[in-house]
C-alpha cells in the first residue's frame, strides 16, 4: 500500500528535519509514500466557530485529493494532523458543514469524510508495529533518558482525535522504548506549551514552557521529543533560564535505524 503524504507548510521550511528524517526512516522500514500533489496549507488552527466554513476548505480539498487517489493520508505535524482529522470529522458528522462545503467545492462527487487520516506515529504503532520496529533498530539509543512531549494538539479533544489516552498517553513512550532508549514519564507531557500565543504573548508562553521543562527535568529527562514544529519553537525559543534539548521524534527514529 502507498500512503499519500501530507507534509504541511512548516515542514518545507523551518521544520525540515521532521520531514527529511521521516522520509529516510520510512524508506528503511519499507513503507512507500507519495507526497500529495498540490496540497494546500491546512490553516494551522482548527476553526472552532460552528459557522466557519471558508477556513476549512483548504483542508477539505486536501482530504478530497487523497480520497480520489484511494489512499490513506499520512500526516506528521501535530497541528496538520489535528486540523485535518477534525475537519474530516466535520465532513463525516456535521450535515450543515458538509452540505455547505460540498456546495461550494462542487467536486465530481461530494466529499463525505471518506479519507482515513493517519498520523506517522499511529502508522508506526499499528502498521509497522513497535515490536517489528525494535527489530529493525541497528543503532539502539541505549541509556538515553528521553521524555515524550505530546502537547495538546495530538491528544485533545480525545473524542475526535482518538489518538491516545488524553491524560496518560503511551504511544511516544512505546516508541522510545522500541528505539532502545529509556522513556521517562513526566506529568506535564500533555500540558499546553502555549503555541498559539507564542507570537502575541511571549511571556505567557515562557511560563508554560518553564513548567514543562521543570517537570521533565524533575523526572530525569535528558532530552525531549515532539511531533510539533510549534512546540519545538516554543520549547526552544521561549524557554526561560532552564533549557532542555528538544528533537523531532523522526530524527531519533532515523538515528536508531542508522539512516541519519
Amino acid at each position: 500500500m502507498i500512503y499519500s503524504y501530507y507534509p504541511g507548510c512548516t515542514l518545507k521550511t523551518k521544520a525540515k528535519e521532521l520531514d527529511i528524517y521521516a522520509r529516510k526512516s520510512l524508506e528503511a522500514l519499507g513503507i512507500e509514500i507519495e507526497e500529495l500533489d498540490n496540497w494546500q496549507c491546512c490553516g494551522g488552527v482548527y476553526p472552532l466557530a460552528k459557522d466557519e466554513i471558508a477556513t476549512k476548505l483548504s483542508s477539505i480539498r486536501t482530504l478530497n485529493q487523497a480520497k480520489e487517489l484511494g489512499r490513506p493520508l499520512l500526516t506528521l505535524c501535530s497541528a496538520c494532523h489535528h486540523v485535518l482529522t477534525r475537519v474530516n470529522n466535520d465532513m463525516k458528522t456535521n450535515g450543515d458543514i458538509n452540505m455547505r462545503a460540498n456546495n461550494y467545492c462542487a467536486f465530481d462527487e461530494p466529499y463525505n469524510g471518506e479519507t482515513q487520516v493517519i498520523h506517522f506515529l499511529t502508522l508506526l504503532k499499528e502498521v509497522v508495529g513497535f515490536d517489528n520496529l525494535a527489530k529493525k533498530v541497528v543503532n539502539p539509543l541505549k541509556g538515553r533518558k528521553i521524555g515524550a512531549y505530546y502537547g495538546c494538539l495530538l491528544l485533545r479533544p480525545s473524542n475526535e482525535l482518538a489518538f491516545d489516552d488524553p491524560e496518560n498517553p503511551s504511544i511516544l513512550e512505546d516508541f522510545i522504548k522500541a528505539l532502545g532508549a529509556t522513556p521517562v514519564v513526566y506529568p506535564f507531557r500533555n500540558e499546553c506549551c502555549g503555541g498559539y500565543i507564542s507570537v502575541t504573548n511571549k511571556s505567557q508562553a515562557t511560563k508554560n514552557v518553564d513548567k514543562i521543562v521543570a517537570s521533565a527535568k524533575y523526572k530525569g529527562c535528558e532530552q525531549l521529543i515532539t511531533a510539533c514544529p510549534l512546540c519545538m519553537y516554543n520549547l526552544n525559543e521561549n524557554a526561560g533560564a532552564d533549557k532542555i534539548e528538544v528533537k523531532y521524534f523522526t530524527e531519533l527514529l532515523a538515528e536508531a535505524l542508522g539512516v541519519k
Partner: protein, 662 residues
C-alpha cells in the same frame, strides 16, 4: 347494541388545565353506543367511583371507558369498582389522557383534540371486549435472594423470621459484600464488622436460610409464585463439610501472587484462601487460575497439610434446580473504574487511592493492620487530600450522570477518623456541593469542619502530579476565585459507584426492567419502590439506586415485607389476558414458541377438521398458567392464529382506526 359509559377525570388540574374535559364529554357522546358520559374532579375518589357504579346500574352499561391517568396507576381500582356494580371487570378500558396527553402538552386546544382521539380509541376497543374470568395459581413457599451483601442478608433474615425458607445465592466465596470491607460506618462511627458479622452469623445459623456461596443463578423460568431457577455452584475444590477453616493450607501454599480481592488488591493472597477471618462460610476456596496443581498438576502441598482431608482438586461445578415463589435482586454495587480519569494520576501514583482502598488501609484487619501509611513507601503521610465527585454527576461520557449519594458522608467520616487518630495530619477536601440530607448527617459533616478542623475547599481538581517528592493538586478555589496548588502526600478519590456488573444479566434473566445506568427499575418510584414491574420480583439495596447502609437496610426490610405478603397467600389470581391459538389457522411453524420468554407455548399433534378435510396437524397450544400476556407471539405469528384475550388483533386495529379517523 352495546351500551357504553364514558367517565372523564379532571385529576384536579393535572388533566383539566390542559384538556377541556367538558368538550371531551360532549365529543364522546356523539360516538355510537355511548349512552352516558360525564366528568368529575377525581374519578378515583369514593364519590367518583359511586358516580361510575350508579351509571352502570342505571344505564345497564355493557362497557366502561375511564379517561384518566395511566392504567398502571388506577386500572385495578376501576376494575374492582365495576365488579362491585356487577360488571365484568374486563369490560373496563382506560384512556390515558394524563401521562400520554395533559402532562406532555401545553396547548389546551391540541390537548383536547388528542384526549378525544384517545377516548374514541378506548371506546372502539371496549366494544370488542369480552368478559374474562381470572384463574388461580399456587405459591411456592420459598424465596430466592440474589446477592449476599447487607441488603440480601437483611431481606433473607426478615423473610426467614416470618417462617419462610430462603436461599441466598452469592457469587463470591463469602457473604458480607462491600460492607464487610468498611472500617467504620457513618453517622455513628461504629465498626462495620461489629455490626455486620453478627448478622452474617445469624444468616448462617438460621434454619430457614440456606447459603449458596460461590454460586450463580444461571436461568430463571416461570412466573410469580412459581419460579424455577437453575443455580451453578462453582467448584471450590474444597469439601465444605470437612473444611474447618483452620487456615493451614493458606500458610503453606507457595503461590502468593493472587490479588487479595477483599483488600482491593492492596496486597496479595495465596492460591488457596479464606477471603477474611470472619468469612461465612469459614471455609477455603482455590483460585483455579492461580493454583498450579489445577493448571499444571504440580505442587499439591495443601492437600498434604490439610488434616481434615477437605481438599478435592477434581471437584466439578454442580448444577441445582430449585423452585421459588418470589425472587429478590440484591446485586449491589462496585466503584467505577478510573481509567478515564487519569488527570488524577490513579494509575500513575500508588499514593492516589480510592475511598474503598482507604477503608482497607485504615482497617485493623487490613493489609497494614490499620496503620495509615503511604502505599508507595510505607511512610507516614503529613497531608491527605480528598477529591469528591470523581465520576459522579458526570454527563461527559466518562462517568455517571447521577450523584452517588454516599461519598459526601464517607469522606467526612474518613477526614474525621484520620484527624482523630493522627492529629498531626492535615486533611483537605475538595468538594462541589456537600450533600448531607439524613438524620444527624449534616451535624456529622459540620463536626468534621468545626471540631476536627478539616479544610473544605469548594472547587474541583484539574490535575494531580508529582513534584519535589510529593503530590501536587492543581485546583480551583472557587470562593476565592483562585487557581491553587496544594501539596499532599496522599490523594483519596471519592469514586462514583455503579451497579454491579451482574445486575444486567440478573435483570434480563428475571425479565425485570433496568434503567440506562443498569439500576433495576421499581414498579413505581414513590408508591412501589421495592417491587419490580415484573410480578414476583423484588428489589433490595443499591441494585435499585445508590443508597447508604441505613437506607439499604430499611429498603431490604421493606422488600422482605412484600415477599412475606406474597408467600403468605394461599392462591394467586392469574391474569386472564393470555394468548390462545386458533387451531384452524395455525401452521405449526414454531415462531411463537421461539419468541415466548416464559416457555408457555408447546405443540400437539391434533386431528383437525378443516372445512371437511380431516387431518393430523401440529398446532401450537398455550399453557395459560405460564403465559404472562406479553403478546410477543401474536406479533411473531405469520398466519394470524395467535391472539390475546383482552388485547386481540381486532381490538388493537379498532383503536388504531379510531385514532386515525378525523
Amino acid at each position: 347494541m352495546l351500551k357504553i359509559g364514558v367517565f372523564v377525570c379532571w385529576c384536579g388540574s393535572n388533566i383539566a388545565a390542559t384538556v377541556d374535559v367538558k368538550q371531551v364529554v360532549e365529543a364522546v357522546k356523539l360516538q355510537q353506543g355511548v349512552v352516558f358520559a360525564t366528568d368529575y374532579q377525581y374519578m378515583c375518589s369514593e364519590a367518583g367511583q359511586l358516580i361510575m357504579r350508579n351509571a352502570i346500574e342505571e344505564y345497564k352499561l355493557d362497557g366502561v371507558v375511564i379517561c384518566s391517568c395511566s392504567p398502571r396507576m388506577h386500572e385495578a381500582t376501576f376494575r374492582k369498582n365495576a365488579e362491585r356494580a356487577g360488571l365484568n371487570p374486563f369490560m373496563v378500558e382506560i384512556a390515558n389522557i394524563r401521562e400520554h396527553c395533559s402532562w406532555i402538552h401545553k396547548d389546551v386546544e391540541e390537548g383536547t383534540i388528542k384526549a378525544i382521539a384517545l377516548a374514541n380509541a378506548a371506546i372502539a376497543k371496549v366494544k370488542l371486549n369480552a368478559p374474562l374470568i381470572s384463574g388461580e395459581s399456587g405459591v411456592t413457599k420459598r424465596a430466592l435472594v440474589i446477592g449476599g451483601g447487607i441488603a440480601g442478608i437483611q431481606t433473607a433474615l426478615d423473610i426467614a423470621e416470618a417462617g419462610f425458607q430462603v436461599d441466598i445465592v452469592e457469587k463470591s466465596p463469602t457473604i458480607g459484600g462491600n460492607m464487610a470491607k468498611l472500617d467504620k460506618t457513618f453517622p455513628t462511627l461504629d465498626c462495620s464488622a461489629c455490626i455486620l458479622t453478627p448478622k452474617m452469623v445469624d444468616a448462617a445459623a438460621n434454619p430457614n436460610i440456606e447459603l449458596l456461596t460461590y454460586s450463580e443463578v444461571e436461568k430463571v423460568s416461570g412466573f410469580v409464585g412459581n419460579f424455577k431457577a437453575t443455580i451453578r455452584k462453582k467448584a471450590r475444590y474444597i469439601n465444605t463439610d470437612l473444611c474447618t477453616g483452620c487456615g493451614d493450607c493458606m500458610s503453606k501454599c507457595p503461590s502468593k501472587k493472587g490479588k487479595n480481592e477483599f483488600n482491593c488488591g492492596l496486597n496479595n493472597r495465596p492460591a488457596i484462601y479464606i477471603p477474611f477471618a470472619q468469612a461465612i462460610p469459614n471455609v477455603a476456596v482455590i483460585d483455579p487460575v492461580q493454583c498450579i496443581k489445577i493448571t499444571k498438576d504440580k505442587c499439591g502441598l495443601c492437600q498434604t497439610v490439610c488434616s481434615a482431608k477437605a481438599i478435592d482438586y477434581k471437584q466439578q461445578d454442580e448444577i441445582i434446580e430449585r423452585e421459588y415463589g418470589a425472587i429478590v435482586a440484591a446485586t449491589g454495587y462496585k466503584p467505577i473504574k478510573l481509567d478515564k480519569f487519569d488527570e488524577y494520576g490513579y494509575s500513575q501514583s500508588k499514593d492516589v487511592i480510592t475511598s474503598l482502598e482507604l477503608e482497607r488501609l485504615m482497617n485493623a484487619a487490613g493489609p497494614t493492620g490499620g496503620k495509615l501509611v503511604k502505599p508507595s513507601d510505607g511512610s507516614h503521610p503529613h497531608t491527605i487530600t480528598f477529591i469528591q465527585c470523581v465520576g459522579s454527576r458526570d454527563i461527559s461520557g466518562r462517568g455517571k450522570c447521577y450523584c452517588s449519594k454516599i461519598c459526601c458522608m464517607y469522606t467526612a467520616k474518613h477526614a474525621m477518623l484520620i484527624r482523630d487518630k493522627y492529629p498531626d495530619v492535615n486533611v483537605n477536601v475538595f468538594y462541589i456541593d456537600v450533600r448531607t440530607p439524613g438524620k444527624n448527617y449534616d451535624e456529622f459533616y459540620r463536626r468534621a469542619v468545626e471540631e476536627y478542623n478539616v479544610n473544605y475547599i469548594k472547587g474541583q481538581v484539574g490535575k494531580v502530579y508529582e513534584s519535589d517528592g510529593h503530590l501536587v493538586l492543581q485546583a480551583s478555589d472557587l470562593l476565592n476565585n483562585e487557581q491553587i496548588l496544594v501539596n499532599s502526600d496522599m490523594v483519596v478519590l471519592a469514586t462514583a459507584i455503579e451497579a454491579d456488573e451482574s445486575a444486567k444479566k440478573v435483570a434480563s434473566m428475571l425479565t425485570a426492567s433496568i434503567d440506562t445506568n443498569n439500576f433495576l427499575t421499581e414498579a413505581h418510584a414513590k408508591l412501589r419502590p421495592v417491587e419490580s414491574p415484573t410480578a414476583g420480583i423484588f428489589l433490595s439495596g443499591v441494585c435499585q439506586g445508590p443508597k447508604d447502609i441505613p437506607e439499604t437496610v430499611s429498603q431490604a426490610s421493606a422488600c422482605a415485607a412484600k415477599v412475606i405478603g406474597l408467600l403468605s397467600k394461599a392462591k394467586l389470581v392469574t391474569n386472564p389476558c393470555v394468548a390462545h391459538s386458533d387451531e384452524l389457522l395455525c401452521n405449526g411453524c414454531s415462531n411463537c414458541a421461539n419468541v415466548c420468554p416464559y416457555g408457555a407455548i408447546g405443540y400437539e399433534t391434533k386431528l383437525i377438521n378443516d372445512h371437511g378435510i380431516r387431518e393430523n396437524r401440529r398446532v401450537a397450544v398455550v399453557n395459560p398458567a405460564l403465559c404472562q400476556g406479553c403478546g410477543a407471539c401474536t406479533v411473531a405469528c405469520p398466519s394470524g392464529a395467535m391472539d390475546l384475550f383482552g388485547f386481540s388483533n381486532s381490538q388493537i386495529m379498532a383503536e388504531v382506526e379510531a385514532i386515525c379517523k378525523k
